[in-house]
Symmetry: C2
Subunit: 251 residues, 2 copies
Amino acid sequence: MSEPPKSITAAILVIGDEILSGRTKDANIGYIADYMTNIGVDLKEVRIVPDEEAEIVAALNALRHRYTYVFTTGGIGPTHDDITADSVAKAFGVPIDVDERAVELLLTRLKREDLNEARLRMCRIPQGADLIVNQISAAPGFKLGNVMVMAGVPRIMQAMLDAVAPTLETGAKMLSQTVEAGLPEGAYAAGLGDIQKRYPQTSIGSYPHFNTSGGGFNNQIVVRCKDADMLADAVAEVVALIEKLKAERGV
Amino acid sequence: MSEPPKSITAAILVIGDEILSGRTKDANIGYIADYMTNIGVDLKEVRIVPDEEAEIVAALNALRHRYTYVFTTGGIGPTHDDITADSVAKAFGVPIDVDERAVELLLTRLKREDLNEARLRMCRIPQGADLIVNQISAAPGFKLGNVMVMAGVPRIMQAMLDAVAPTLETGAKMLSQTVEAGLPEGAYAAGLGDIQKRYPQTSIGSYPHFNTSGGGFNNQIVVRCKDADMLADAVAEVVALIEKLKAERGV
């Protein structure tokens, strides 16, 4: 048997009271999830925590020791509730101060006399970090160890992700194929479980979707695998199962 | 000084590979967040984990001991990847088996001869749990201790939340007011931080929003507090700060 493809893993840490209160609807998790799948990184966990240093530090330390990469979003602006950079420095136990590289970036958009204390707060970068620049906002994110610290505003976060992605190690890309079931889940669940057991290197899921325009549920079966041949074999078995069940029912 | 209003807290545990892969975009977190704010429950943390028993058990035990309530979504269907009910039973250390109350519910929609092993899987309810019924799907969720186990399909989850919400203890409702800044964050950050220090029982946030139709960023300042008078006082100070800064700049 060949070696299973190497797995590169990631977690997302969303930082922000505004997400937990419902005021802002997160748009970054789904975007990063798609992005990771496309570049061959397995997103394994997401946490959303409030703007509280102890919470950010604890969550970051739990995640960064466990996964290849951690992406944080939110809390890197100039206001008092933007405490992500200082919290990350604390989690790593490294000093943090105004970084001249970040100051230079801000000065490309601001006059030096407008560089007040609050704006200098956006230049606080933990020692040893690389900046993550973006074209939307002058204020940078940063990469410290395996942690990528990014903005919460989706447009800026997306630009930062584009900037940092080429520096990441990636693994085999997860391939997937979807089969429209056209049957209730309860009709094919046993057979599908049997296929999953015979193809342990695939991940087979069944996803009901409620059809709001009538007709009840539409069910989709998704087979995921990093090996194209194995994926094709498992999908062929799923299709055969569904066709057999439909024939039995005269559907 | 009067007692600070009682705080009832909650966490959400989203269970599902399909969210982590990006295939399905979560629509439940934002909905539950709004719902909790409206009924006076403080949502403090969210986690998204894969369909793996050890991950579900660990996350649930971390959350249920820490917050008043935990809401789980996903993984309660009839297929092999639906392992939430068994994982919850394991986390609580209680037995789980087919529950006759759940069977009765399914029989309102299904003939007994269609009640196969897979569908009976949806009737597996941990010992001691109360069912959470809904009108969309016959299969119930359940409430065990302080944990509410709900479906992942938004329409069903919402019906289950409506069913279980009246049984929850709620606290003082968080009130909030938004001030349109009309200035760059860096211009008011220092003054806003001063107001936050003088009103420690409020939570003051500044939220930039990138205007994709041009004009750069719109910033909103949100003041949150459970005490209406204190909220009004803090908001008045924020408004005065913004007006003073605008006057200084001739905006």
